[in-house]
């Protein structure tokens, strides 16, 4: 009796692993293909039947991608944009979230609901007026155009507010009795205690900013003001027949996010769980 119980248990485990492995392979194929193709020669990439492992691993495609497009500039633009947006969102969203979660003032709930209603609106509804603002400011083809609208986020405010609500009020009261000012409470009590929430918001902002495509292709069309995502779109238009170069370009664009994910996996998972269940 017992032996069969163990055996069926082992068999279930085996089936679970088999299913998970099949799924994992399907998830990985495009990445493996991307990496392998980036080392292939042009003839290998169009060979029938496909060459899976290139004969020799050469880095020519990477240098070709770097030379044919200003990848350094793309990196610079993407990093600056991402860092600025992340700092901006952490600052503006946490300040407002603290007030929404903890301070009472007339109109607080109306303002908060008004903000939340923005969450329901698809991004395309904002884009034309945002573009007009950029145009009027003379910011088309500038880094400000990529950064400024992304400094403020309703999602971020909502996320942090939910997080701040879970911090015990007693800690604040104690600080208040010690004569701490609201700025002091925000900076010395709330911010240090809300680190996981702040990290989650930072990760989301970094990821979305890095990967965003629609807004950059609208506002910035000149090469020296493009981020990586728009640069890749451009590279595809230019070199649509040279897939090894395109793959090398893609690898150059994606590795920082993949590396960040591998390092901060725990925070990614926690952040998503936070947004998904604490509604």
């Amino acid at each position: 009796m017992r032996a069969t119980g163990v055996r069926t248990k082992n068999r279930t485990k085996l089936i679970i692993h088999a299913l998970l492995i099949v799924g994992a392979v399907l998830m990985m194929i495009p990445f493996v293909w991307m990496l392998l193709t980036s080392f292939k020669s042009l003839t290998e990439s169009t060979h029938v039947p496909p060459v899976i492992i290139p004969k020799s691993f050469n880095f020519d495609n990477y240098s070709k991608a770097m030379v044919s497009l200003p990848f350094k500039t793309f990196y610079f633009n993407t990093v600056i944009t991402t860092v600025a947006k992340t700092i901006g969102q952490l600052f503006f969203c946490s300040l407002a979230a603290y007030a929404f979660a903890r301070l009472s003032f007339p109109g607080r709930n109306i303002l908060f609901i008004l903000c939340l209603s923005v969450l329901m609106v698809p991004g395309q509804v904002f884009i034309i007026p945002q573009y007009m603002i950029m145009k009027q400011l003379g910011w088309i083809d500038s880094l400000q155009a990529l950064i400024v609208p992304g400094l403020f986020s309703v999602f971020g405010t909502f996320l942090l507010r939910q997080f701040f609500m879970t911090i015990p009020r007693e800690l604040e009261e104690a600080a208040k009795l010690d004569g701490c000012h609201y700025i002091g409470i925000y900076w010395r009590v709330i911010i240090p205690l809300a680190k996981p929430g702040l990290v989650a918001l930072a990760i989301f902002t970094i990821l979305w900013s890095w990967n965003d495509l629609l807004w950059p292709i609208i506002v910035n069309t000149s090469m020296d003001k493009m981020p990586l995502s728009a640069g890749l779109a451009y590279l595809q238009g230019e070199h649509f027949t040279n897939f090894p170069v395109l793959m090398a370009g893609s690898i150059l664009a994606v590795w920082p996010m993949i590396l960040m994910f591998l390092f901060f996996q725990r925070y990614f998972i926690e952040g998503i769980a936070l947004t998904g269940t604490k509604q």
Binding site: M34, T46, A273
Partner: protein, 299 residues
């Protein structure tokens, strides 16, 4: 009682409350709230050269009703939604349920399934484009083992949209899987223990305990997935593109919106499309909220 005595402190609190929310509210008002009103206004205007526009009444809405290409795009979007959302949710539930067991290598699996979520859609599109290639593509190579001559997926009007749906599902599983997994971990093990005492098998437990208790999370995932599916743009733009012969049978509403607004400079008409899209999303979300009473179980 306390309140009255603390009155000067109360005004202090008000003041700082306003100071703290002011920068965000200002930013949101300028870049998000006011633009909604403007887009609504633009939907009644016609645009000429140099971004000059004039009031045109309901003309854009009339045009929209007769715009067969746009209706086609709405149909494509609907096909996209109807396939991608259930497939994403079902696969995510399966993966989450499998990962909720005590299996070895959990972190590795989780990492592998999540990888597509963090990868730039523009880059993902380029690889998949090559995997789908009719002549040298890996997918047709695999099919050739089964003596199937695969089509030129992305430039074949019959297959293009479905090929993109596959990629969209592939990209979205990881994210939803994590949310569902945290939902699964919230289910108390006492339910399972009680069922085990009654001799329930794994399937009985899954369908009678896990699924019903997971419905609030499934509902959340579905609503979010639906909203984002209605806004599909990146994959269509990168994988199919304006010049393809398959574009008409694959272009989504947002792709058409982009084309009208920024390639044809018909920003008035594009605004009308954006407003209609907003209304559609609001209606669908409202219907979902209504329907949830029928199938979502809250503990």
């Amino acid at each position: 009682m306390m309140k009255r005595r603390l009155s000067p402190m109360k005004t202090q609190e008000w003041l700082w409350g306003y100071i703290f929310v002011a920068p965000l509210i200002l930013g949101i008002a300028v870049f998000y709230m006011w633009p909604v009103i403007q887009t609504f206004y633009f939907s009644f205007t016609e645009w000429g050269a140099f971004n000059k526009y004039s009031w045109s009444g309901l003309k854009n809405y009339e045009r929209l009703l007769q715009d067969k290409v746009l209706w086609g795009a709405f149909r494509n979007t609907l096909v996209f939604v109807v396939w991608s959302v259930p497939l994403t949710v079902i696969f995510s539930i399966i993966v989450a349920a499998l990962l909720n067991q005590k299996v070895r290598g959990l972190t590795i699996y989780r990492t592998l399934y999540f990888l597509p979520v963090v990868t730039m859609p523009a880059a993902v599109s380029i690889v998949w484009k090559w995997l789908y290639n009719g002549d040298y593509g890996f997918i047709n190579y695999i099919l050739s083992f089964f003596h199937i001559q695969g089509p030129t997926w992305l430039s074949d009007p019959k297959f293009a949209l479905y090929a993109v749906i596959v990629v969209a599902v592939w990209m979205a599983i990881g994210n939803n899987m994590i949310i569902l997994l945290s939902g699964l971990q919230g289910i108390s093990s006492s339910y399972y223990e009680a069922a085990e005492l009654d001799g329930a098998g794994p399937f009985y437990k899954f369908f009678n305990i896990t699924l019903p208790l997971l419905t609030p999370t499934i509902f959340f995932v579905m609503v979010m997935q639906l909203i984002s599916a209605f806004q599909m743009f990146d994959l269509i733009f990168m994988m199919i593109g304006d010049k393809s012969i398959a574009i008409e049978s694959a272009q989504t509403v947002v792709f058409i919106f982009y084309k009208y607004a920024f390639l044809d400079n018909a920003k008035g008409y594009a605004s009308t499309i954006a407003i209609v899209l907003l209304v559609v999303i609001l209606i669908i979300t409202a219907i979902q909220m209504r329907l949830q009473k029928k199938w979502v179980h809250y503990e």
